[in-house]
């Protein structure tokens, strides 16, 4: 179980903008939780605070009752937090198999490594020996990124906008991956940052983050119907009215 207590994060740059403001949240075990909300609302920052990539300026983070607020990324990873980046990192010379072995923390056999790739819809034979470099497309990288989280087998897996940078056709398959993960969630929990209806649709719980605070939280059946076509889902555009797009283009 993950517990956030009065978590805050203020940007260190000149603006000193409050990105996350006094967020308290509980992600229980065996739950598939989707965090959604308008762009710039603080969703990705929240995910990075949980993984330790960013350090909160206030509040506490507890994982299974243990205070991990001051623990490093490595320590949190070892305690069971997995994190899939919105924009997966490329590495020169590191192969897909290497990355999966690092993720698994053992000398994964090629057959086992291939299993993880197959699960994310990649033809394992074609990818296992590839370099995780610029020769891979955005969609391929994203799937490999998700495979590394699967290989870790963590108790809390966080996915930061898995749909970002993926074409519609590839995304269709990814939904199946997440459905499958949900099916075998026992003993772990999944936190996905997403705008995608299809992902929201398979959530146990939905949390709406807006302007750095929890705007709404509840079961899918409670929150989802209110979201579709509302300001919570599409953000400021609607409030500004038609024709008033960002940047002033009319």
């Amino acid at each position: 179980m993950l517990e956030l207590k009065h978590l805050s994060f203020t940007a260190a740059d000149d603006d000193k903008k409050d990105i996350i403001r006094d967020v308290s949240l509980i992600i229980p075990d065996d739950r598939f939780v989707v965090v959604t909300g308008p762009n710039g609302g603080g969703k990705s920052t929240l995910a990075k605070l949980i993984a330790g990539i960013k350090t909160p300026t206030g509040g506490q983070i507890l994982l299974n009752g243990e205070d991990i607020t001051n623990k490093s990324i490595t320590e949190r990873a070892r305690l069971g937090i997995g994190f899939a980046f919105q924009q997966p990192v490329r590495f020169k010379g590191i192969h897909v198999l290497d990355l999966l072995r690092i993720a698994a923390g053992k000398q994964l056999s090629v057959t086992d490594a291939c299993e993880y790739l197959s699960e994310v819809g990649l033809c394992a034979r074609d990818y296992i020996g590839r370099e995780v470099n610029a020769s891979l497309s955005g969609g391929e990288l994203k799937r490999i990124e998700i495979a590394t989280v699967l290989a870790r087998g963590t108790s809390l897996s966080i996915f930061d906008e898995p749909e970002a940078g993926i074409d519609l056709w590839s995304f269709q398959n990814l939904i199946e991956v997440f459905k499958k993960m949900r099916g075998s969630i026992k003993g772990s929990s999944i936190l996905i940052i997403s705008h995608q209806e299809r992902i929201l649709n398979i959530a146990d719980e939905i949390v709406v983050i807006r302007d750095g605070v929890v705007a709404r939280q509840g079961t899918k059946d409670e929150v989802y119907p209110q979201l579709i076509g509302t300001a919570s889902a599409v953000g400021d555009c609607i409030k500004r009215g038609p024709g008033k797009t960002e940047g002033g283009a009319q």
């Binding site: 990873a77 020169k92 590191i94 690092i102």
Partner: protein
């Protein structure tokens, strides 16, 4: 002729005239992946002495008489054969210049494994300057692997100054893999190549310097014939206070294509100078240079830390991959 030659296709069976100690065996493993006497033609040089040699029916190794070194003759059409010529030095204070000339016959296809390992536990500098010249016949193909390695805790430096000259006839191709990852204090590497029509040269250099080491690598490749091509890629890491200079020049004297790339990671107080050099003397010479130097990307380290590695372990994985 001081070289030994046999008349069968089978590798020559040879008794070492020097018994290798553990350090020498380790050096041989590092530079030539040798665990035992290699198959095919070989010459092992240990502390400036010949410690073993074998020629085969198609590959003849002959000692030079005027200077230190060998002439290696590979018969035209020789296929699937290898030549190992490792050098190991374990005596402190040795200094040597060795000239090895390779004559590769038309249409031959061979692997040549060179390399030098120095273990210096003494206070005097140990230095091996190997000058290798390759005369590559028409349509011949060679793969040349050269590994350099230094070890030992003495104050004396481990110095390696390799000189490589490659003369490629029409349609020949040469692949060179140059590796220097550990322990060599000072290196000045000079590589020159001249390519005739349709000849192809591919170089992959991997280099890591640490401590106060210095490594300078200079390439001058002349593409003289129509359709000749060169692809020279260096990947290097400079750690601690070490210094590297990569100076690669491709001269296009005919319709040809050339590419050089220097991709480097700097760590600690390491310094790297990359000097791009392209000279086109023909309208249809297409030449490209790429150079990038920078520290390890922070997001790469972060990603590996989210997989459970410490920052140091993450750096190690990134460097290992980069220099693979």
């Amino acid at each position: 002729m001081s070289g030994q030659q046999n008349q069968t296709q089978k590798p020559f069976s040879f008794q070492f005239n020097t018994k290798f100690d553990e350090i020498q065996k380790r050096l041989l493993m590092e530079v030539a992946d040798l665990h035992a006497v290699p198959e095919g033609a070989y010459n092992i040089r240990s502390n400036s002495q010949m410690a073993g040699r074998a020629s085969t029916a198609n590959i003849e190794i002959v000692s030079k008489t005027d200077v230190s070194g060998m002439d290696i003759y590979i018969k035209p059409g020789t296929k699937n054969a290898s030549v190992h010529i490792p050098v190991v030095m374990t005596q402190s204070g040795l200094k040597e210049v060795v000239y090895n000339d390779f004559y590769i016959g038309e249409g031959a296809d061979v692997v040549i494994v060179a390399g030098c390992g120095i273990d210096n536990c003494g206070t005097q500098d140990s230095e091996h300057d190997g000058i290798h010249r390759f005369y590559v016949g028409k349509n011949a193909h060679i793969r040349y692997v050269e590994k350099h390695y230094g070890s030992g805790s003495g104050a004396g430096k481990r110095i390696l100054n390799p000189g490589t000259e490659v003369y490629q006839e029409e349609g020949s191709s040469v692949e060179m893999e140059m590796v220097q990852i550990k322990g060599v204090d000072d290196t000045v590497r000079e590589t020159k190549a001249e390519l005739a029509a349709g000849a192809k040269l591919v170089v992959r250099e991997r280099l890591m310097t640490h401590g106060e080491q210095r490594a300078i690598s200079t390439y001058t490749v002349s593409l003289n014939g129509e359709g000749s091509s060169a692809d020279i890629v260096s990947r290097s890491v400079a750690r601690d206070t070490s210094y590297q200079k990569f100076d690669a020049k491709i001269v296009g004297n005919a319709p040809c294509s050339g590419h050089t790339e220097c991709d480097s990671i700097i760590m600690d107080h390491g310094r790297i100078l990359a000097v791009p050099g392209l000279e086109a003397n023909d309208l249809d010479a297409a030449l490209v240079h790429e150079a990038a130097i920078g520290k390890i990307a922070g997001d790469q380290i972060t990603k590996l830390m989210t997989l459970g590695l410490t920052e140091e372990e993450a750096e190690e994985q990134i460097i290992n991959g980069f220099l693979r």
